[in-house]
Subunit: 448 residues, 4 copies
């Protein structure tokens, strides 16, 4: 049999092991693994000598802004940045215009993404109190999960009441999909923010002080209580606080199906970095103290946190760069910088490459029911690969990002360990650092 | 030396022991205890043969409606009912008109109560977001504690935001006083109530279904988290759910200073009693299921719940009796019926008389910093006594209540074990069932 | 009525409160408390101005060596030391000759003690595998509890097997009495001791190293497991290790009825004191590290440890003072020095006098079913008082001890806070530091 | 490239997944997996159509009696039974003659096994107090772990004291190997057994009563405490009690590295089966009650128990069949019956085939440091396979066992799901139910 593609001579990395093997691809699927130098015939062979072959890495938290906010980003630019960043699948957030709250809005986004995306993508539906009746239809249409904004942190989207959250969770529980929450207690944020404004504060750190740890902690505790009550599978988006890690760990111990993600900014930066980059680092929830960073690493290593995700939130520089921190918009890019930043940490010995594969591919895929189509190197799985060179060094440059937005707090960061080739369903998107294919991204439908 | 009063021949009951002794009173204080039949000289001797002498019982949760809502009750009628019911000290709630949110309002209530009250009284201040600046002044003025309505359950009072609650708790923590919360999550109540209304439900049980256990549980969990964060001493008013008991017990185990009360209606009735008495039993939080009742008893016996209190909430029959449950006002009388109802349980063997003294006198006094002036039989303490006849039987009759309000779900209940004499600071208010003194009630100032 | 004795003008101390009152005594019992200066008539009045009146203090762990080992101590000398030390009741250990393993042996000891004792006393029975059949008879004869030596630490007494311990505990459970254990794992002691001997060690600290914490910890864990299995009330004698505190605290949290005592030597000394006093401090279990001392204090203050007891173990100086630590006999005097040593700690602010009364009188009385005859100041209780002067200073001198044995590691210790008068059932044994009465000690029979 | 062997057309089963693939073998190792029908060239292809290809199953607890007790079994007959039973690797116990307590004894057993064994094998060393000095040498020689008999349950082997166990564990901790314990408290067994004998009991169930749950529970608790103290990795052999599951689960939660195994007899039988098969079922520890069975299943499914192992203990029928239960020897065969019995449970839906692979291959290999040479299907791992037909039915017959011993309590049991082929390092031992190769078993050396 002739294979379509063979990735030869690389070190294959799974959460459990690293071993030398050639990976065989046929019709977009993994078709086999063989050791040894004698390879079966193939239309194309990629020599991965000196490189590591990872299952395609997944970013479960991106805002590609399509449709409606495409002046910040669109599915084409966002997914191009993903591909350059070594990400083969993204999960896109629903707070766009129209919000992904109905099957119609889902189809609208799907149409745009199907035209433009360089990588595969899952779509998350949003739930407010008014569209609880849409949940099952959205699930049938193909969302991989749901998101609830607990509190009106995003402004435009109406937040459901606690009663609505419980009821929504009960309905979501029946779909077999996971519901993620933006967990910040709005009343606490607003209270402290108003106090700081009243005191005349406009400096960047005031934003952090206005969103104290208790605001996240309370909201995570409440979300867990509701999910436990409703029997729903819960995900904590962008967990940033030490208290969050403790709460999620305790809930897991008593058997609650709760998962969590954190991002490179929470793992690598703390709020003092604002003194250097100012409003560029404004994010909700904010980057916090060293103690939080430390506890997040512990949680990432001990299994409390299942996923690294970026909350890729592109904005224009005009929206972002303000002298008065309250006027700056929160969020920044992440999908293109996450892999090199995290590989750099692997090189520093903070985690194994195997564990990184677990939190950047397997974990994310499992949480949003994309496993084993995505998230693993297994015969029959999609032939998605992120091929990385652990010795390549570089510097992150804001202006070089492929996103429409050039906003990143990591500008100038040295990295060691970079993605070189990105393969989606057996086809190269990026090969040895150059764009060679696409856009041919497809929707990932969840296993239910 | 001549004593003012000797209570002779009775069985003295403390949380630790029951023993035969004469209690000596001088100048309104307990001046001694002596055994034996030879008694020192006294102006007056009360023969308590066959009776039990309890430290004055305390109801830490009454609404005497003064000032502003005196068509329902006033401090005169309320405290008269208390005296007949064997209660020597009450703690009055602040949701009156004007609410007890300022020193001026406190003084207004104090003036009324000082004129009219038959029993001693503590006053609780209310905290909203707007009067956080009054907290320390109220403490200096003499409140025994604070109350926060978490959510706008009472309608007229503006509820503080979660940020305001945290901030208020931080300030209260500095006063050394306890903050009690009405813990029901408003958003959940409203969501389910609206659903039931939309479904056309108007029957009494719909009120219970509209306030599910999770509404109380979530709010208690949140209050505990905030109090722990703020370092405040927390009290859970009218705890009604099994989940509440579990949460309070767990918080105590990890060292949080949280206390709880429950009431005779939660201990003796369940929601099915609504089929008999309809809207008469409407209460917030509602009387729940047998399983909740059972868990509350466990909590009362194992120390998780420190106090029995009635939430005495008088209303007119017109406000109360409605065919449509949503139109009926929540609340009913309790201060006069609590002691005989609970003594009946003692007679049934559900708890010892000693333990009842603990939860009806010592516990309440300790929680609101009135101990050891109140809440114990100790030399130097106030000579407050509730003298009870454990063999006397009777029937609770709504029309016989001394409150302005004749609203009780216990009408027709058989009791065995009744208060016969109520003594406040050495002076009889009720003697052998008849009013003989008062009004001479005084404010109890907290130990700080 | 004329009282036999009035203790006037003192500060009465209970676990809950300190208050000024005169204590009335009639026929050996507490007959009343009165405040004020006008006192009822009495045959005798003791002016306790400037002094504290404590309920008679209790030492639940003494070895008075009667019968059979009276060259070390007898009930006369031991109880005289107790009386001088402010102890009104002792509980005597059973490892004498014959051991208190039968009703006959119990009667033998009772006869000696009744003749000689200056203070009241409880007697503990010993259980080996062979006398399980005697347990109920001993209970009927009047022991206040049982002791099991887990392992042959005392040499002569045959230790029961683990099977025998379980079975004995099941039988003891039926008596309503508590079983205390000497908890050291013999196999571990012997293993490490042999290793140290083989290595040529003969210095005092080798004794400590030969009995590592794990030896006590394992044995306490096992005793708790067996008591929980058997439904027996368990007491841990002379707890010395931090691990012990943790184990007892955890068992209490899950509802096991386990109590513990520790002694002044564990609270005030650590093993480095051996460098000063050598074999004088040899004790089983040994005095350990500062960390253990710290954790024992925590346990004493938080209720994990209910009693301070001395393990008063008199020996001759010949038995005690040896160059080779293995040849010295373990144990030293404690009953006379405990109160001043602990009052000194009270004066330093390490605990309140109220809490000391709890762990030195109420707690001990409750554990061995002597409460409320002993252990409290309550009408009807025995008129046992320890009257202390918190300002009196002194120095502990070995040669001044009233025990036959002059062995103490505390020789030369400065104290502040000393017992001045010891009253047993209304009669002075020691008055203002001088022996004035006795011997008239009686057996305390347990409440069952 | 030509492969040595291809297992084609089967369903490959790992703990994580089941997928159709051909497994490629070269030089005794797994060399690849390919999907599709077109296969690379191979010297031999096995058609596994309709069959499941499992990683070679491992029995970590067998007594092959070599050397010294070969009248019961030898490595040839035992390993033949293993091969017929679908087991590709065994771990052999050390209580033979001479016991595997020295390098010499290890070499003696290794020589015999290397000559006779049909399957690969690990060897466990035994530790008494006397051979603690041999531990590191045994580790260097190649044992995969150590065993301590806590108590003299086996009679001939001297049990180490608790001190010796602690010391041995400290030394073993340094080797990186795991120490397993036979956990029964000897003193409890002996006590209750003597009582039953004294009462004249000789019936089979008396054996169970003489070894109550507390005997195992106490010993497991103690072993865990010692291992935690010593920093050793602990294994609980043949766990049989519900208390054991609770203790191991609690220890894991607090981070102790403790593992456990249970056997088919504990999972499928309870003590009432003794009424049918009498002394045939005598085993130490005994088969217990339904409640224990239930809890063991829970532990097996939730990860508390990592391994199914048989404690294969062959004896002659003469040793085994006795009217007086005390005269019968404990133990019976297991290595040949385990796989069909457990596959029958898989077919009943009690666990997935994937989970069975986890507890019968991956778990066992990991515990004794044989992973990933054994215990997984991974490129580079040994090409050990157990090929099973989940539809094949059969009946277990004692006389048909390939062991020297024909002792089994499962005689007559119906099974569905049977091993058909057993492949060790790429070579068939049993092919389609017939012996076709061997003996060529080799020692498995641990990864350290």
């Amino acid at each position: 049999m002739q294979y379509d593609l063979i990735i030869a001579n690389g070190q294959v990395v799974t959460p459990e092991a690293t071993f030398r093997a050639a990976v065989l691809v046929k019709e977009g699927k993994v078709a086999g693994f063989v050791s040894g130098d004698a390879l079966p015939p193939a239309r194309e062979t990629y020599d991965a000598s000196g490189l590591y072959v990872l299952p395609g890495l997944i970013d479960i938290h991106v805002h590609f802004r399509d449709p409606g906010l495409t002046y910040k980003e669109d599915f084409g630019t966002g997914s191009l940045a993903a591909a350059y960043g070594g990400i083969t699948t993204v999960v896109d957030m629903p707070n766009v215009n129209p919000p992904t709250a109905t099957v119609e809005a889902f189809q609208l986004k799907l149409a745009e993404a199907s035209k433009k995306s360089y990588v595969d993508f899952g779509i998350v539906g949003v739930v407010f109190e008014e569209n609880i009746g849409e949940i099952e239809k959205l699930a049938d249409a193909g969302v991989v999960g749901f998101k609830i904004f607990m509190g009106e942190t995003v402004g435009k989207l109406p937040a459901p009441s606690d009663g609505g959250i419980i009821e929504a969770m009960k309905v979501i529980a029946r779909t077999g999909l996971r519901v993620g929450v933006h967990a910040e207690n709005n009343q606490i944020l607003r209270y402290y923010t108003e106090k700081l404004k009243a005191a005349g504060r406009t400096d960047p750190v005031a934003h952090v002080e206005g969103r104290p740890n208790i605001a996240e902690a309370e909201c995570i505790a409440r979300a867990i209580m509701f999910a436990e009550h409703a029997g729903a599978k819960l995900h904590i988006y962008h967990m940033s606080s030490r208290e969050g890690v403790d709460l999620v760990a305790a809930a897991k111990r008593r058997g609650v199906d709760v998962s969590a993600e954190t991002g490179p900014h929470y793992l690598l930066l703390d709020y003092t970095h604002m003194h250097k980059v100012g409003s560029m680092l404004k994010m909700n929830p904010p980057v916090r103290a060293k103690e939080d960073q430390q506890r997040l690493w512990e949680g990432l290593l001990d299994g409390t946190i299942e996923a690294v995700a970026t909350d890729h939130s592109p904005h224009t520089l005009e929206e972002k760069l303000k002298d008065n921190i309250w006027e700056a918009i929160p969020g920044f890019c992440g999908v293109e910088t996450s892999v090199p930043l995290m590989l750099t940490e692997v090189n520093k010995g903070r985690m194994t490459l195997n564990h990184y594969v677990k939190v950047a591919s397997e974990g994310p895929a499992r949480l949003f029911n994309m496993y084993p189509q995505k998230g693993c190197l297994r015969i029959g799985s999609d032939a998605d690969f992120t091929i990385v060179d652990m010795n390549r060094e570089g510097v992150i440059k804001a202006e070089a990002l492929h996103s429409k937005s050039k906003v990143t707090p990591f500008d100038g960061f040295q990295v060691k360990g970079m993605p070189v080739s990105t393969i989606v369903r057996g086809k190269f998107v990026v090969r040895d650092g150059k764009l060679v294919g696409g856009p041919f991204g497809q929707l990932v439908r969840p296993v239910r």
